[in-house]
Symmetry: C2
Subunit: 359 residues, 2 copies
């Protein structure tokens, strides 16, 4: 029996994606080869690459204006962004809204001058920082993390900015309505909403890519990856194929349906967190709450242990909060179904009844 | 029916590895989770990491003296090696024995002064360059590619050197006897002899790692990866697990058996290339021939096309040579069986008979 995985990622994948991925390992499309064996320069993989890029272009409504790249190492983007787009002597603006934003700032500072324009670090990131006013228009770019996985906050709308926007969308890409064309560059690890661990999607507006610095080694150069159509080196074929299967599933289900389901899932869960006498949400403002990662705590550690145990006994796993927040984190990524969330909400109610009877 | 894949990589994997990998996608060890979903910080993946590192340590006879890392992006090592081990003002020595060595030199030159100590580029790499004499002992390190996948040459024995040796072993790791402890750092993409595409094994001697430069961004810093036990970011869980399955298969079969099989496979094939009136090996000296990638040509393009067609009709694929050499390249990686090679040799004979009858 398959468990309900509410982990922060690697996340649950749709059952049909798992079945297709498993079948492809034994024989990819009756080619007599495993998906783990097909050549990365050949018709079979070319078709996977082309279809996956076309789906990203379509689902994100990019109007063919972006180079769509499958890269490796999500965190490597923290370096590649400034290496490519922070010219000597220029500055970049960063919004420090959580752990991964702070790590991106740390890695970027190796390559140039970073201005932290806003931060909620002093509040342990339990809210989004206030959007900065009067941003220096000479900044090379403005960098933000759209969803803060660990702290459960999310930027729903980003104001128009004069400088190029760069966003880490690792934990909310294709999970909610978003104007992707507002961004000069966005990227996302696959293992939350669009695939398995081992591959990172990056989309770079062609006009922004023209501004990239030359002189980087090939693997660290977005333009080199674009010129080689993501096969500058042997790509992670299986991870890209599983991402394609997931993108197909998104298209088939309909992204509007998925967005609406995600809205509903989050509302049910936050409503229960707010109603239930045992639990408290950790994010200071309801408007800042993430639609993907709902963070909450119980009144004490013992109660938390009992609830995690109760979930485990009822086939829900991955609900432990990150050590920087504690308590619980239920991740509601695309492949988590409405009935999965209903089950969690029901368990929260049952748990409350039990605890109140015990006391 | 499974085809015989003699491609240069992603390469054939053992059938039992494919079956176990497919099963793990549906349910990993009865955890109720897919291998694509298990958390990268948790008991299940910790056990995979620990066992895989222990197997590398054992199979390469490293005596626990090395940090064993699973990284992403083989070609990224071309940058990481100089970023970490080429101090300001120092020089590194490189042996230019093929396309990937030349690319490594190009990428390394971004970060410092590179001395090319030997090159066979002028011969289109149809032989190994002469090993350099009187190497400057002040070089930060000496870099080589042990097996040149495209050109079918291989360094069997490396003379003792005073400076640290760094080697790209992407296409011959764990395929033949080698003194791994001779190297300060060696790395290999998994997709030829030890796993699928999407992960790179790196082993760094602990004393060499202490000399690494500080100040690199985390993802480009070997020491940061070592401190975080290869989970500095979300690792490619599935690719590492499939590599573990392959390493287990190597151990179970016995590496001495595999090395002897590989020796036998290469001998059969080269003997046939030398005997067969239609084919000619492309490597100038028999002693330089690779045990992994056997490159050969036919007398003209039409004959080559017919032989490739003949192979395809007999379920052998991936035998086309690289465009820089032409003709054929049969890759004899660990999972290619002796009977696979016997079948190829038989086809070469049959093809010769047919062609001679036709003429």
């Amino acid at each position: 029996m398959q468990k309900i995985n509410l982990g922060a990622g690697p996340a649950k994948l749709p059952q049909e994606v798992l079945e297709q991925a498993a079948a492809a390992i034994l024989d990819y499309q009756q080619s007599g080869l495993s998906i783990l064996e097909i050549p990365h320069r050949g018709k079979l993989f070319d078709a996977i690459l082309e279809e996956s890029k076309a789906l990203v272009n379509e689902l994100c409504e990019l109007d063919n204006d972006y180079e769509i790249l499958w890269l490796q190492g999500g965190r490597l983007q923290f370096s590649m962004v400034p290496m490519n787009f922070l010219p000597q002597g220029a500055s970049a603006g960063y919004i420090d809204s959580g752990h991964w934003a702070a790590e991106a700032i740390k890695d970027a500072a190796v390559y140039g001058n970073i201005n932290v324009l806003a931060s909620s670090q002093k509040d342990n990131y339990n809210q989004l920082p206030e959007w900065p006013k009067d941003i220096d228009p000479s900044l090379a770019y403005l960098y933000l993390t759209t969803n803060n996985t660990i702290f459960g906050t999310q930027w729903k709308n980003i104001p128009h900015t004069a400088m190029p926007l760069v966003a880490d969308m690792s934990s909310d890409i294709l999970s909610c309505p978003r104007n992707y064309k507002q961004y000069a560059l966005f990227y996302a690890v696959a293992q939350k909403n669009i695939g398995p661990a081992g591959v990172t999607l990056a989309a770079v507006h062609r006009s922004f890519l023209k501004k990239a610095k030359s002189g980087n080694a090939s693997m660290l150069d977005y333009a080199a990856h674009a010129r080689q159509h993501s096969v500058l080196n042997t790509p992670p074929v299986m991870a890209i194929y599983t991402s394609l299967l997931t993108l197909r599933w998104i298209k088939q289900k309909g992204k509007e349906t998925i967005f609406e389901d995600n809205r509903q899932k989050a509302q049910w869960l936050y409503d229960e967190i707010d109603r239930n006498s045992l639990f408290t949400g950790t994010v200071a403002h309801a408007a800042h709450r993430s639609g993907m990662n709902a963070c909450f705590v119980a009144k004490d550690k013992d109660t938390e242990k009992r609830f995690i145990e109760f979930c485990k006994n009822n086939e829900i796993v991955g609900i432990e909060g990150h050590r920087q927040v504690g308590g619980f984190r239920a991740s509601l990524y695309n492949a988590v179904s409405k009935s999965d969330v209903e089950k969690l909400v029901t368990l929260m109610r049952e748990f409350e009844n039990r605890e109140l009877q015990l006391s």
